[in-house]
């Protein structure tokens, strides 16, 4: 076993909200051509037939308002742009036209093609360039938040393609770990933001949850669980400590606040030497939020469920046999070679999370869905024979 894997005692996953790979990390193509990012040659048609080119004009807030549609039918248009041929071609040409439907404003619809320049996102881009960035990490479903997050917790959404994932029959990764004598925790930001996993986990197993304050304390004291899942702050609100700015980066929340939050999570781990040496941190986004990405989502192993027209709101049944739009994903550990770019030949999705965590801490898990079993694992990226002594640190 590589020494990095031998030393690995903790896996931490931070799942952010609703941004595509090209939008957040696409600019890095100019830094490293191995990164399959975006440039000004990529375009979508608008409703007047003009070519709308991708441009590094994304703003931290105020630009993607209203929130771009990312329900199942909208994502279908973004990917296929109305193509009804058999088989349909995932052209990734429908983003601008789909965004137009929300305001009927041609100029506004073009903003869905904007991406961030590298220097606008110093945290995310530094982590991507210093550790491992995935060229092919896709959301699990071409749909919204909660069904995608379910794949991170359960390896399936139990047939759901929308925002209702109630009372699943399978065991979450947290229950699997506890049953096997391991420890697991979900950290939500505070009581006001709380968890998106209320109906399935919080109301039944509140002992699994703690606040982000506790994560910071656990990192400092070296008492982090074997597996930790972190949820950002989903709203602007007040708590006992004052005003709290949403840090989830969901449009139209401030993207810089999310940068600070990612830096905070990273620094909390990195500042404890023993924890830093024994932890892998995955920063990943749940879905693309309706924002342009140029890579067509590939097919995947079905998980045995299907969603009919009543659920997809389209004329066809979805058999969970292709992935959603590509999202940013970065794996961080001092055992990863600097500047790792995970190639286009390796496809990951959110079911990769429970599959990786289960395999590392428990071993084979026969009850997992075929989809989860087929999902790639990522800990082989901790491949260095000797731990790195260089790193980045973030400060205000």
């Amino acid at each position: 076993m590589p020494p990095g894997l031998d030393a690995l005692k903790h896996i931490v996953v931070l799942m952010m909200e609703n941004r595509s790979f090209d939008h957040m990390l696409g600019s890095l193509k100019a830094v490293n051509p191995l990164i399959d990012g975006v440039d000004r040659t990529l375009w979508n048609p608008d409703t007047q037939g003009n070519q709308v080119f991708a441009q590094p004009l994304a703003q931290f807030q105020g630009q993607l308002d209203p929130d771009p549609d990312h329900a199942f039918p909208a994502v279908d248009q973004q990917i296929f742009n109305g193509d009804q041929s058999n088989p349909r071609v995932a052209s990734m040409q429908g983003f601008v036209e789909n965004y137009y439907t929300q305001q009927q404003d041609v100029a506004h619809s073009q903003k869905i093609m904007y991406y961030f320049a590298q220097d606008q996102l110093p945290v995310l881009t530094s982590l991507a360039l210093n550790f491992a960035v995935f060229n092919r990490w896709f959301s699990s479903i071409p749909g919204p938040t909660l069904c995608n997050r379910a794949f991170a917790h359960y390896g399936t959404s139990f047939g759901q393609v929308g925002m209702n994932v109630f009372y699943p029959q399978g065991k979450s990764i947290y229950e699997r770990l506890q049953d096997a004598g391991h420890t697991a925790k979900l950290y939500y930001y505070d009581q006001q933001s709380s968890s998106l996993e209320v109906v399935n986990l919080l109301q039944h197993q509140p002992e699994l949850f703690a606040t982000y304050d506790q994560f910071i304390a656990d990192c400092k004291s070296g008492t982090l669980s074997d597996y930790s899942f972190i949820e950002p702050n989903y709203s602007d609100h007040d708590n006992d400590d004052g005003a709290q700015l949403a840090s989830d980066q969901h449009p139209d929340h401030n993207v810089q606040a999310g940068e600070l939050f990612i830096a905070s999570v990273y620094n909390a781990i990195q500042s404890n030497p023993a924890l830093w040496a024994s932890t892998a941190l995955l920063v990943v986004y749940d879905e693309h939020g309706g924002i342009f990405d140029h890579v067509p989502p590939p097919g995947c192993v079905p998980d045995g469920y299907s969603a009919g027209p009543a659920d997809t709101q389209l004329s066809y049944t979805f058999n969970f046999d292709r992935l959603g739009v590509r999202v940013p994903a970065i794996l961080i550990s001092p055992w990863i070679p600097k500047g790792t770019v995970v190639g286009t030949d390796r496809v990951f999705e959110h079911a990769s999370i429970p599959n990786t965590v289960t395999n590392h801490f428990i071993g084979p898990y026969p009850a997992a869905t075929m989809r989860e079993k087929a999902a790639q694992t990522f800990l082989d990226l901790l491949s260095l024979p000797v731990m790195r002594t260089d790193s980045v640190v973030f400060s205000e």
Binding site: Y189, Q244, D252, R388, V392, F394
Partner: protein
Amino acid sequence: MYDAGRKKKKTPGKRGATVSAESTSTLPGDYTSIRVPIPPASAFNKGRPAGCLLQAQLRHYHHAESARLPKKKRDGRRPEDIHTEAEAADYIAKITKLLNPQRRRKPKPSASA
């Protein structure tokens, strides 16, 4: 009011998003220090209408409230009565505290990572 400029005090909005360079002194090796800009105070808007994600979260909390809490403990508000992010946060906090009554343990003041 969120005030991104008051960096050295116990700043509103700073708790979960604080980053510190203190870790540079705890490990040997070569470190690149990267400054992270803080958002402007104008970014904070607790009166922003609750978006689709918060609306879904409200429906789920209402579902859990109805399923798990006795009537005398329920908040009484319906998701459709809640319009802003601040209102959503207030409702979610009340239900979360009832569903997960553990006491919040705060880090020591020096835990500035």
